[in-house]
Symmetry: C2
Subunit: 107 residues, 2 copies
DNA sequence: TTCATTCATCGTAAATATACGATACAATGT
DNA sequence: ACATTGTATCGTATATTTACGATGAATGAA
């Protein structure tokens, strides 16, 4: 049995199995789809706030690579970054993690 | 609740390097890092069991592409496939999803 | 100013991901 | 035996990811 919403007749509903929330979930999941980025999230959770250099010290990756991973996490909304002088302070965005938990719960 | 000395970090756990569980989490997350694969998981959840062709019918992708996504999900352990005559029956592996929830909870 | 520090970005090379059509292959039907 | 059906896999083209060193921008100290 197929349940179509009665309210909004889609414009060509033949192949609409991929939903908006699928893309939202996939974006968050993809951001966590690399071990280094998971480690960064754990580190931020433990530290609360830290600067980029602290993460570089702990990971077996070049500074530019860590910065790239941080950018990925930032673009997905999982972390927030704030410039503080020559440093960059990073911290988690708990709302994004919670959003991922909700979406995973719906799955 | 955690009182770490600010000065000299203890010898053992100062390094929060990339852990085994980070890779495990990342593998599951990466498998869900594409909208089509999220849609497949949703479809399997709704259908319980279905053959490859049913998924091909509802996704705007070629059969070979869907088969490739299914392989990715299978390699991550998120779905199980079993051949039934000329068909392939797929279903979810709830344990893998639960594992992901646990790992995400720890995060 | 000049130098050092901190980080983001650029340029790039290698690896992986994504998509498709074509093909192979196994099981069933005629 | 032969064709049909449902999938997996191959080959391939393009796009993205991942990693690094080099460079640049911004700040603070000398």
């Amino acid at each position: 049995m197929k349940f179509e919403p009665l309210c909004c007749p889609p414009t060509g509903d033949a192949k609409t199995a991929i939903q908006e929330s699928d893309a939202e979930f996939a974006q968050l999941a993809a951001a966590l789809g690399h071990p280094a980025r998971v480690a960064i999230i754990r580190f931020l959770k433990q530290k609360g706030v830290c600067i980029c250099g602290e993460i570089v010290e702990v990971l077996p990756l070049a500074q530019s690579t860590v910065s790239q991973h941080l950018k990925t996490l930032k673009e997905a909304g999982l972390v927030q970054g704030e410039t503080d002088g020559p440093r960059s302070c990073y911290c988690l965005n708990p709302a994004a993690l919670e959003r991922l938990r909700v979406l995973l719960g719906d799955l």
